[in-house]
Amino acid sequence: MKNGRFATVCTILFAIFMLAPIVVVIAVSFTPEGYLEFPPSGISLRWYRAILDNPDFIDAFIMSLKLGLVSATIATVLTVPAALAIGRGSFRGREALQALFLSPLTVPTVVLGISFLRFLSMLGANGTFIGLALCHAVIIIPFVLRLVLASVIGMDPSIEKAAVSLGAKPGTVFRRVTLPAITPGVVGGFVLAFITSFDELTVSIFIVNPSTTTLPVRLFSHIAQTTDPLVASVSTIAILFTVAVMLFVDRLYGLDRLLIGEGKR
């Protein structure tokens, strides 16, 4: 089956619509002027040099990186055993357990944000890195769960039985049989969780303090105040970073599978 001319025109217009805001940000970042200008009147790296004079953006980038790695690690370590339980068994409460772990997708993010703020400030832990990392872990667990669950359900249970019947201990079965079989889902889930945490704004904006400000929060507050091309150059670096992660994932796991996991809310 092939698409007609009308479909091709629609697809091209749709692609322009999807890419326009991203292309514009990248183009604007190369302006030599002091304001957001499109198309840029020349090509200059002025606003990339400006990033070096604004170390708070670099600090925020490093903070987002650390936060993404720590929260994705917490989420993955906690979710893999839960996914094994949910994916295998038919026990009472299985559906409820799955619904609970997917619920952060249903609750409006702003509601989660204020709830974390209220809870952490009661504990006096507002703005701490560990508080931030645990909150992020909660909101990225659904993404890990879905990808790991897909791997667990797709796995042939008889290979574990074979290992047990050959005398392997439970720990050995997990390490040598189960884990390798679900690795694609675990890696995909980890990466998706990392990216989600790295991009997260609505929860973070409530619970960061000046020393734990993440990149999206830093960008947001900068854009809300002024719009100089600095935000465009920082955004371009964030886009390039995402593209690099995507290329890496494509090699490792297949980008299509990760994207479809992201799209399924």
Binding site: A7, T11, M18, P21, I22, L97, I223, A238, G263
Partner: protein, 280 residues
């Protein structure tokens, strides 16, 4: 191993870090707030009465749901045919379009919204192009309007619609389309009479996702709408971080949560009754 033992670590995290905070927010919404005294541990419905009797909040809730509805309808109109075209593409172009459609989801909403702010401004790309072509003399105001928010939100949400419809269409038998074509149906007739009915479950589940995410969106309405065009999420933000009236902000948030849940559950009921056969 016992499934609950395996889930225990994640369960503990959810109990402490999600259930407890949500319950605390619910309680907070019944507390009162004094300008000098801060949060007072009283219990009463006054915050809810304040919100539900003030036309200012009705306007904000009305605007939020109108924006979410408009976004959902436009996403369905754009996303449904796009998902259909996707099923008919050659594998190479399909991979390209999957990347173009879903790739932006991996880029921060803040960055994507910045792009829209550059495109939509009075001195922005679209207005300069329109004026350069002589189509309009004065700039068409899109920043700080609900319309501008809808345009940027459609960009954020349409991937979810395309994916939901695409998933529904993958379950259909392509032979039904070929049969219609061989019987002489024109492409539009095939789409309307054969494809659309089979895509409908996807359109409906996609609409639900798009609507609930749009109704609670924060970054896009905040950056495109500015201070003038407030929605529920930005109002909650202002109550918490500017006015510092947390109990009132919590009440608004609880109303948003309940409204979204009620809409989701009733929508699911309607869809399940209407399309009971399709989901079996």
């Amino acid at each position: 191993m016992n499934p609950f033992l395996l889930s225990a670590p994640a369960l503990v995290l959810f109990a402490i870090m999600m259930v407890v905070p949500l319950v605390m927010t619910f309680i907070l919404s019944f507390n009162s707030f004094g300008f000098y005294t801060g949060i007072e541990m009283t219990l009463g419905l006054h915050n809810y009465i304040d919100v539900l009797t003030d036309s200012y909040f009705y306007e904000i809730f009305g605007r939020t749901f109108a924006i979410a509805l408009a976004t959902t309808i436009i996403c369905a109109i754009i996303g449904t045919p796009q998902a259909y075209f996707l099923t008919r593409m050659r594998p190479f172009w399909r991979s390209v379009m999957v990347l173009v459609t879903l790739g932006p989801l991996l880029i921060s909403v803040v960055v994507r919204t910045l792009g829209w702010a550059i495109l939509l401004g009075n001195n922005g790309v679209i207005n300069n192009a329109l004026m350069g072509l002589g189509l309009t003399n004065s700039p068409f105001r899109m920043m700080y309007t609900s319309g501008g928010i809808v345009v940027a939100l459609v960009h954020v949400m349409v991937p979810f619609m395309v994916l939901a419809v695409w998933a529904a269409l993958q379950r259909q038998d392509p032979a039904t389309q070929s049969a219609a074509e061989s019987l002489g149906a024109k492409p539009w007739t095939v789409f309307r009479r054969v494809v659309l009915p089979q895509a409908m479950p996807g359109v409906l589940s996609g609409s639900l996702i798009v609507f609930s995410l749009s109704a609670s969106a924060f970054a896009t309405p905040s950056l495109i709408g500015g201070r003038r065009v407030k929605v529920v999420a930005t109002t909650v933000y202002d109550e918490f971080l500017n006015t510092l009236n947390w109990p009132l902000g919590a009440a608004i948030a609880v109303i948003l949560l309940v409204a979204v849940l009620v809409i989701m559950i009733s929508w699911n009921r309607i869809v399940e009754r209407r399309f009971a056969g399709v989901f079996q």
